[in-house]
Structures are given as C-alpha cells and as structure tokens.
C-alpha cells in the first residue's frame, strides 16, 4: 500500500541545471531555407566545399519524411519556427581563456566544468560548446605536443580542412536519415578530434554541450579520427535550461577507427526532460555511428541517458575491418512522461568481427522506454559473433518497457546471441533492505545502480562515479 506511492515520490527529482544564463546573444531569424544556410556558412567563414555539402544535404532533407517508426509520440515539430544559429556575443578573436566572457565561464563553473587555467579539471581536456559555438578548449598545447588535435569543428574546418573534406559525412552521409540530413545542412559547432598514428591520447577528451536559448535548436557535429594503432577515450555531457517549450537537438557524431585503433565514446546525457506533466524538455534526435575501417579496430559506445523529453538515438558500429570489435553499453532512465527509443546497430561486414550489446532500461512514472537494436551479419562476415543482453527494470505500475531486437544474418557461419529480461523492484526487495536499516531512497538507488553495474563498469572511472550520482539524484526525493 505504501510503496507504490513512495516510489513515485522517490523518482521525482528537481532538475539542477535548469538555469538560464543572461547573456547577449547573436541570433539569426527563425526559419530554414537556402539563404539561412548560406548565412550560417558565411558567419562561420567556411570554404566552398562545406557550403556545397550543406546545400546538398538541405535539398535531400526537403525530399525526406520525418521518421515515424519509433515507439514515440510527440507534437509535430515546426521546422520553420526554430532559430538555426545562436551564439553568445563576444570579442572577435580570443587568444586566451581569460578573455572569455566571465558569464560563460561562470555558467560552466555552475555545471561543474571549470575552464579557467587554475581550476580546470586535471587530466581531462574539455571542449565547451554553448548554443551554436564552442567557447573554449582546454589543454590544447599539451595535446598538440603529442600531435593530437582537439578543437571545435569550426576551427578544424579552417585549420584542417583537408581532414574535414576527406572524412566529413563518410560515416553518416547526409542522406542517411531525416535528422542527419537536417544536421548536415545547418550544423553549427561541435568537436573535432584527430589522433595520429601510434599515439595513445595522454588524457581523456571531453565535450560539454550546453543549450541556453529556448527557441534555437542545437545541431552539433562531432568527428573523431583515430589513425592506425592509436587510441582515445572521449566523453560528452549535456544539459539545458528548463523551458516550457520543446527545444530540438539533432546531432551527428562520426567516428573513424583505422587499423588496430580504438575509440571509446561515452555519453552522459542530462538534457532537460520536461516537467511532471510532460511540458517542455529537449527533443533529442541523434545519429551516432562509428566505422571500424581497419584490422582489429575497435569502437566502444557507452551511454547514460537520463534527460530529454524524447530520445531517438542508436549509436552504431560498421564493422568492416577483419576482427574489428564494436561495443554498446547503455543505461537509459526515463521518468514522468519521458519517452526513449534507443539502442544500437551492429553491422558485421568483415570476417571474424565481434560485437557486444548490453542495454539497461529503467522506466519510472508514466514513461516509455524502448530498446531497438539491429544486428546484421553480412555475406562476408564469416566467423563473426554477437552477444546482446537487454534488461528492463520497471518502477511503479504505470511505466512501460519494450524491446525490439532485429536480427538479420546472411552468413550461416556466424553466431548471434540475444538475452532479455524484465524485472520490477519488488516490495520484498525493498523491505529486505529497509529491514537492515537502509533508507527507502537509498534502497531504490542501490538496486538501480546494481542493475546498471555492467554498464557503469565500462565508463571511464571518474565518470562512472558521476553517472552513479546522477542516477541517484534522479531517483532522490522526499519520502513519505
């Protein structure tokens, strides 16, 4: 009698990053057409190849239809009612972090991402993106000593246009899907990483995305290239203020791993999820894909998805190189009226390729949490293996969980394994922990983090603790 209500209280947690930074911004007018795209490209002083890339993508997008196959329900998005470029006004050329508007530094401080020289996080280089532009990137000189390039994608377009021209859109082509096409047409900023041959990146790299404006969309684009025998661990975090309108976030992330290279990409997504009635929140439509191009190359995605009103996201791996490895570790927590349709695609093309999928969905409140995944074995993927495990946890009696595994095999000499389970936090489990003196809230949070342990173990150490705390926060509330 008590516990159903208690659980409902426990999963209510006010959003801590809902503040708005009061800062003068430069915004262009609402709407989307060729002129807007030209304007964005002009503002960013882009080379012609990129403007062409954008315009081509826009033409494709106009012919495409918004996908409706996901288990998601939401009000139609009016793409002409969105601002596609918004940037905080600041001095033209910034030579050091000390010249960054203190309000921006303060914003990132409040988010726990100090950027200034004295306070910056040790051993993690951060690229901070505020609305449409990158504000600052730390540790650049240290990284440059190792030949590692870590900068905003806008800078990369200026300074490393050969790499951009060579790789942009090669993993996620503009025509891939509706949101990828939109992103390709209007993407504003994001991060660029290049790890040269044989280099193990000396520190973790991290991008922090902050949406500040209520009426502009965020369309970032990230490109990571790991040359032969190199490795890098990358983390992205994201938050947004609380608005009662929905903000569109449509990002594209492309990863390229060459022979023996390894990329670990971890996400802690905490966009504003909307309120208890489902008003406001971010619409998160993201295309993330990695190409294992070489022999024994490896791409590992781990994600902790706790925010957004709508999540539509399937970080995927194209396993081309022989013996290449793809991994996907995911925790998705939904509460109130949040909806998540998330999973992965593992496309085995090369022989002896291997993939692992571990997905943990937690649904509380009236939320809807779906795993959707595709495992495909191509004709040449002989001796390839996949293992998938999809577990769902339900909290309360109004939440729902779905699992949609798609398995396609054209190769009889390959193995695909799929395991799935659904559980509910039972009254007996809670009572057992309580009868040992453990508070109700802590008992719930212990069980949830226990449920997610396989995934948390995959996160870089410092972020695993953060993710654990984040889930506990989301599940914290007043008891009784």
């Amino acid at each position: 009698m008590v516990n159903e209500n208690l659980v409902k209280d426990v999963v209510k947690e006010p959003y801590k990053y809902g503040f708005v930074t009061d800062i003068e911004t430069e915004k262009i007018e609402k709407g989307l057409n060729e002129d807007i795209i030209k304007l964005i490209s002009q503002k960013k002083e882009e080379p012609k190849f990129l403007l062409d890339f954008r315009l081509k993508a826009f033409k494709k997008w106009q012919k495409m239809k918004e996908p409706d196959w996901a288990a998601l329900g939401y009000k139609k998005i009016d793409y002409q009612d969105i601002i596609y470029y918004s940037a905080p006004k600041q001095k033209e050329k910034i030579s050091s972090l000390d010249e960054v508007d203190p309000k921006l530094l303060e914003t990132f401080n409040k988010l726990g991402i100090p950027l200034t020289e004295q306070k910056k996080l040790t051993n993690v280089a951060v690229d901070a993106v505020f609305d449409s532009v990158s504000i600052a990137t730390t540790f650049r000189e240290e990284l440059a000593e190792h030949g590692v390039i870590f900068c905003s994608i806008s800078e990369a377009v200026k300074n490393h246009s050969d790499l951009i021209e060579k790789y942009l859109g090669t993993v996620v082509p503009a025509s891939d899907n509706y949101f990828a096409a939109l992103n390709s047409a209007v993407f504003s900023d994001g991060s660029f990483v290049y790890i040269p041959k044989g280099v193990t990146c000396p520190m973790d790299l991290s991008s922090y995305f902050r949406i500040n404006s209520g009426d502009s969309g965020q369309f970032e684009r990230t490109l990571i290239i790991a040359e032969e025998s190199s490795s890098v661990s990358y983390l992205e975090g994201c938050t947004a203020p609380m608005f009662d309108t929905n903000t569109l976030h449509a990002a594209v992330v492309e990863l390229i791993a060459l022979d023996e290279a390894s990329i670990k990409y971890s996400t802690v997504q905490n966009w504003y999820a909307g309120d208890e009635e489902g008003v406001g929140g971010i619409f998160n439509f993201v295309t993330k894909r990695g190409k294992c191009l070489g022999k024994r190359s490896k791409i590992s995605w781990s994600q902790v998805e706790t925010g957004s009103a709508i999540t539509w996201k399937y970080p995927s791996c194209l396993l081309l190189g022989e013996e290449s490895v793809g991994e996907f570790y995911s925790v998705a927590l939904t509460n109130n009226l949040q909806q998540a349709d998330t999973g992965t695609k593992m496309i085995h093309i090369g022989p002896k390729t291997k993939s692992t999928i571990v997905s943990k969905g937690i649904s509380a409140g009236n939320s809807k949490n779906s795993y959707r995944g595709l495992v495909k074995m191509g004709t040449k993927a002989t001796g390839s293996r996949n293992y998938s495990q999809c577990d769902s946890m339900l909290i309360g009696d109004q939440a729902s969980a779905n699992t949609f595994p798609y398995i396609k095999s054209q190769q009889p000499n390959s193995e695909i394994e799929h395991e799935a389970s659904t559980c509910r936090i039972s009254e007996d489990q809670l009572f057992y922990l309580q009868s040992r003196g453990i508070e109700f809230e802590e008992a719930v949070s212990m069980m949830v983090s226990g449920f997610c342990r396989d995934v948390f173990n995959q996160l870089p150490m410092e972020f695993a603790a953060e993710a654990d705390k984040l889930l506990a926060l989301k599940l914290e509330g007043s008891v009784g």
Partner: protein
C-alpha cells in the same frame, strides 16, 4: 503463571495485537513480552501467523495493525518505518532471504552496519575498517570471504543464505532478533554453525525469538519459553519441555487448548 519479577525493563512488549492484510485478519490478539537475556520459541502450524507476527514487528508495509501495541524499549513503534526499527535494534532473520542482483553483499553489509552505527552514535566505517570488522564476524558463521564479493544472496544455497542472515545479525548487534525458521533447509553441520553463531551474538542484554517447527534447533539453543500459536493467537505458553511434548504429540494435541480457552 510465568510472569516473575524482573530486574530490568522488557525489550519487547506486544499487547493484544490484531493485524490484517488485504482486510483478511491474521493476528487475533497476540500478547508477548521479552526481557533481556531471554530466548523465546514460537511454534505452530504453517499459516498460524508466526511469520506474519515477525514481519509486523519489523514493520512490513503489507500488514495493517488494527488494534494493540508493539512497544520496543518502552516506546510504541507502530508508526516507525522498517529502517527506523532496524536502526534502533530490531532484527528480522528472514525465512527466505531475498536475492538482490547487482548489489554487492559487502557494500550492502557496510551500508546496513553504518546505518545502525549512526543510530548508536558510533563512527561510520569506511571500506577498509569495515573489511576488518566483517572478517572477524565471518568467523562466527564460518563463511568464506568470497561471499562478500557476490550479489546479495544471489546464487547462494539455502544454507549460505541463512548464514548470511546470521552474519548480518552479528554486524548489526540488535537488541532483539526475531529469527523466522532460520533452521529450515539446513543440514546438521550448518544448523550447528548457525546455532552457535546465534549463541555467540546473544548475551544478557539481548532478546531472541526463534520461530521454528523443529525441536532440533531448540536442542542447540534452549529457550526459556515456548509459545504455541494457532489461528493468530498464542494458545499455550510453557518452558522448554513444552516443545518436546509438542514434538511427541503433534499439533493436533494443541487443538484442544483453543477449545479450552
């Protein structure tokens, strides 16, 4: 007349307790008083309300107390949450200890022990200090250190689960322990280990309630009092020889008591 003059105040006083679940009455006027140093055994058929009584003392949310009081150390605890009862020194050893996948046994034991220590104004233990303490307590139940790194009760055998319960009792040092069929599912060796563990943990300041069907546990731990429950009431109370008589004559013998009273 078994109420003698006692030197100290009772640990637990249950007075005319009525309780129900889903409007179904289960307890129909139970009274029971436990003084420090006493061991009480409660026996009775399945479904007589023994387990329910133990869960109600521990505060299980599925049961409603409709009448009567439970006093612990002189305070009425009817409105306390299960965790508050546990922190203040009430321990329930489960008949079927619950499996909690993913939660490490060591961490669970540490959080639990610290919750109790906090209540007692004792310093909370960090991982290292706790390891020391738990090593010492593992001896009592002859458990291997490897149990600590597994998930709470997951994949434990019946005997291992019960020993894990006694390990928790040893760590929490309760004022009163209610052990619900702790002996069921144990082989003779495990029963001895569990029984000797219980004896080591209990002392002149603690009270123990053993809920059991079998004399064999009572051979190891001799109770001061034996109560027979039937249909939600204690229908007979005696000393340890009552259990022996019960073993000989069976529960049918006790059916007459209800008619007499």
């Amino acid at each position: 007349m078994q109420i003698k003059m006692k030197e100290s105040d009772p640990i637990l006083e249950i007075e005319n307790l009525f309780a129900s679940t889903d409007n179904l009455p289960i307890l129909k006027g139970v009274s029971l008083t436990v003084y420090p140093g006493e061991i009480h055994a409660i026996m009775g058929r399945n479904g007589c309300g023994k387990s329910t009584l133990s869960k109600i003392i521990a505060g299980h949310p599925s049961y409603n107390v409709t009448n009567g009081d439970i006093k612990f150390l002189g305070e009425n605890i009817n409105s306390l949450e299960p965790e508050e009862r546990a922190q203040s020194g009430i321990f329930l050893g489960f008949q079927y200890p619950i499996e909690i996948p993913g939660v490490s046994n060591l961490e669970f034991l540490r959080v639990s022990t610290n919750a109790r220590r906090k209540f007692l104004n004792k310093e909370e233990l960090d991982t290292f200090d706790f390891e020391e303490l738990v090593k010492e307590k593992l001896e009592i139940v002859k458990m291997d250190h490897a149990f600590l790194s597994r998930s709470v009760n997951q994949g434990f055998s019946g005997g291992e689960k019960k020993r894990n319960e006694i390990l928790q009792m040893a760590l929490l040092e309760p004022k009163i322990a209610i052990l619900d069929e702790t002996d069921s599912g144990l082989d003779i060796d495990a029963l001895r280990i569990v029984a000797s563990g219980i004896k080591k943990i209990s002392n002149a300041q603690t009270g123990i309630i053993l809920i059991t069907h079998y004399q064999r546990l009572l051979d190891e731990i001799e109770p001061n009092y034996v109560h027979v429950m039937s249909d939600g009431q204690i229908i007979k109370t005696g000393e340890s020889d009552l259990a022996l008589e019960l073993e000989k004559k069976g529960y049918e013998w006790t059916d007459n008591f209800l008619k007499e009273t």
